[in-house]
Subunit: 107 residues, 2 copies
DNA sequence: CTGAATCCCTTACGATACTG
DNA sequence: CAGTATCGTAAGGGATTCAG
């Protein structure tokens, strides 16, 4: 159900939370927020335990929502860099508040 | 992975986002926030499509985190009411911001 | 290096039936 | 009414392999 489409569920909040609810999603945003634009391999290393499949899957999804961008450099070997868009930064602001809360509750 | 325990993952934000990432979780909070304390059956009706199992499961989890409380009234038939705790209200504040965002992005 | 494709196994989840 | 118990299925996600 994580992947309910926007069409099937017209509620805006659901659209957003369904997106964020995916595994690793918030964590990916968090890492990109702290590290700035990051290449695929580096991202995978920073997110210990994530599989290639999961990482690409989540990146595609976030890219599609224009929450992050993908920059492809056709060198050999190719370099692909992911970074947050302006849209993402609004989201990050909110995630930072979640972080504050988490610190107080569990920190 | 949704259910990673607090012990295994010491990061506070992960603890919180793992909790919120569960299916229906945010939606349940949302409904309780809008409706005030609500009985089990009513809750189930308001959250169209959720199964009994899922609902109880999520409720137990949120109760354990003291994000909501469970009030049992031993009448016949028994009445059980769920409501948000003070802790939850901090969370709701943040969820409201997510709502704003969602409205602007998808609304 | 950055993925796409395949296989395979686990578990999450829904449906159903039953209890205090 | 408010759940618990059991079961079966669908699919989510890891490991691995291959490709541009």
């Amino acid at each position: 159900m994580v992947q309910r489409s926007r069409e099937l569920n017209p509620c805006p909040v659901s659209t957003l939370t369904n997106l964020l609810s995916g595994p690793w999603t918030m964590y990916i945003l968090w890492v990109l927020s702290n590290s700035g634009p990051t290449r695929f391999g580096a991202l995978k290393r920073k997110i210990a335990g994530i599989s290639t499949k999961m990482l690409t899957e989540r990146l595609r999804m976030l890219e599609q929502e224009e929450i992050l961008y993908r920059h492809y450099e056709p060198t050999v070997p190719p370099q692909v860099t992911y970074g947050l868009t302006e849209k993402a930064k609004e989201l990050i602001t909110i995630l930072e508040q979640l972080d504050d809360l988490a610190q107080r509750w569990y920190g």
